[in-house]
Symmetry: none
Subunit: 241 residues, 4 copies
């Protein structure tokens, strides 16, 4: 590939990122239905036609935003899965990654909710749909592998279905994040730091599954320090680790 071609390639990628950045911002501010391509074009200072050089439809663009975030999440999960330690410590690393992700993509789950409508997927490009599945699969496998290790190593009771553990962890995490950003619930439950609660909830569930070592059997604050140091050394977003 010629030098010029590479540069163009880079420029194209950069612009695609630029579009996604602004689109994501508008999407989260206004919701999908109020996302307006005229405004987006104005924001990125490119024409509307240019947007369509990158994305087939508005739905395709929206899905691309989700895919990008999901890819980042999958990357973090795979990094976290390599953490050296007991299986529950490794799971904790993924929990850490998940919160880290939630901080950077505060409203990612809202985007994910937008994708619910069936008519949505029909209008997105085939490639984009495939990309979404790929990243979703990576996320799931990162966690599922650890749970299976835990069962094999005896950290989780024999006979536990790994998929059910994964499901409960996804549920408590997603639920915590979604509910945690709800102003009404924040008010009623007196929540200040939703992320902290999300991680505690994950602990509750792990303890519920009897995932050894239990919360009171291990110094997880030390684990957290190691996670932060070894896996996410550059992170400054989470004050406590």
């Amino acid at each position: 590939m010629s030098v010029t071609a590479t540069r163009k390639e880079r420029e194209r990628s950069a612009r695609e990122e630029l579009i996604l950045d602004h689109a994501q911002r508008l999407l989260l501010r206004d919701g999908y239905q109020n996302l307006n391509l005229d405004e987006l074009a104005r924001a990125i200072e490119y024409s509307k036609g240019t947007i369509y050089l990158h994305f087939q439809t508005k739905e395709d663009l929206t899905l691309a935003i989700a895919v990008r975030a999901l890819k980042e999440r999958a990357d973090m999960f795979e990094r976290a899965a390599k953490f050296a330690g007991r299986t529950r410590e490794r799971a904790r690393a993924i929990g850490f990654a998940c919160c880290e992700f939630a901080v950077c993509h505060r409203d990612y789950f809202n985007i994910e909710m937008m994708l619910k409508s069936a008519s949505f997927w029909e209008k997105a490009s085939e490639d984009r749909r495939r990309a979404h599945n790929v990243q979703a699969g990576r996320c799931f496998r990162s966690m599922n592998t650890i749970v299976q290790d835990a069962i094999r190593e005896g950290d989780l009771p024999t006979g536990t279905h790994s998929e059910h553990v994964v499901f409960s962890l996804i549920a408590i995490t997603m639920g915590s994040h979604i509910v945690g950003v709800n102003p009404d619930i924040q008010f009623y439950c007196g929540i200040e730091n939703p992320l902290e609660l999300a991680r505690r909830n994950q602990d509750l569930v792990c303890d519920g599954w009897n995932w050894r070592p239990l919360l009171n059997e291990w110094d997880y604050s030390a684990t957290d320090k190691r996670i932060k140091a070894e896996i996410f050394p550059d992170t400054t977003l989470l004050k406590s680790a």
Copy 2:
């Protein structure tokens, strides 16, 4: 109030329910942005103008759907809260109510998600917003009271923040329902009956909080039978109780 006025009042209410019934159906079928007032008018066999005699805007209508469902949920919660037994049994009754509700309003959480957008609330009527808060408060207090009782009675450890317990239960429940209906996750996690998993997840969290009696300390299947018999005798939707 004259006899005629009362009859008219009743007719008005009946029509409002009719509108909400069909609107909810269409809303869940097509999503908010595809909810079309022309189609709704055709379905209810009244004119579009008539819809506007009941609801100020499309957003107001949508919120009314949510309020109606929420009210039903609050009613069920309050009924469940009166269940006679240990605090965790009463919480279990509410969990039961929540699943029961989820069965009747399979996609209520999707509607709740639609309400996220800020611009949405601006267009709903003040009265409707207030009504929503009232019902949300009822739901919260039903649960929170039980948790506080549990702390007072020593079923939950001293020093436990009741709001955090409530938060975790809401999170695991909402998370389980939202994640449980996701086809991708159903596929990855091999889920057949999301509701069953939702209830198990609630147990995990209660055990995590050390809410006595723990799962293995009590015959909760007997409790479930009583709940079904005493609180929801007419329910046939949940096969196992």
Copy 3:
């Protein structure tokens, strides 16, 4: 039907005609691709939305214009077909009707040409397509019946295929009209009155088929006078008859 309903019905029809009138004018001025619904709305002094209360798509509207003209043509043909006289005189009455029609709808054939594109018909409503076929059939049968009579009565040679005669008459008529309005051809052929030539061309073809009585065997100017008087008494458009 109530009085009000009838009036509304009438108003609706009147507006539909209004839309068609202006749409036809713009269509012939600018061609189909340049027909602009914004401009049309401005011209009719109704909103764009109103246009869509009458016509499903732009294609549907265009086809409606063609159907309306075609219906008028079919009406004239059927009226002309009733002319009392020899078969060739009756055919002549239809030829007269055709020219009369061409005067009132100077560019009808151009509209008909627009309908060629296959993608066009897909976007028009089923009802409209059917209506078009109905009117086209009426036109054809009016003429074909006369030709069959001519064969039966011996005015046309035995063994003549009526459809081929009709085809040749349609061809010479359509060809004359289309070519006759072409400025280049008008210039080259020194044409002043295309209609007169169209009628003469029809005579050439009839003589070619040996349709009795031939041009030089009968006083067709007398026939023309009768046609004008009996069939189209109100017509002032054609100077010579």
Copy 4:
């Protein structure tokens, strides 16, 4: 002019033909309004910019297609006009040429119809418009000369206006071709071979003008054989000649 320049000139011409070939194909497949320059560029494997090095606008390109076809028609007409024989035989040769042309350019007349819109010509280049007139003139004169010869030689009645004869022949030919490809009319009139009918229609008109020798006074099938052999020896498209 240098050798290089000549080669470039040739290359330029070749590419122009390539563009016209594909453009004509797309034009006839999709109609003018659906002719898409992006697709055309892809088809010719040159860039869109290159198309604009050859043609000023999309209209200019379309007109160029018409001009090219018209030139071919004029060439065929002039060749046919040289046929040795009676004037009506020579006219027949042109009729033959016309059908031959219609076979190779099945939808040429549709293209010709597209040129009707006034706004079209405004956007085509002056040069192209002039070229179109030149070729149209050649076609007309080929035929007109033969008719004038016929009048002079007494094959057509004295006093006949040659332009009117030409007009009627153009009309019957154009009409036959346009009407003949109309599926509705094919259905109604039971047409299988439109070209055959077109030629018969030409005969009807000639007989109508009393152009000697009449159809029943001469063995025109022999003429047709000669035409085919002497003028269009390479043609295999027309089965009967």
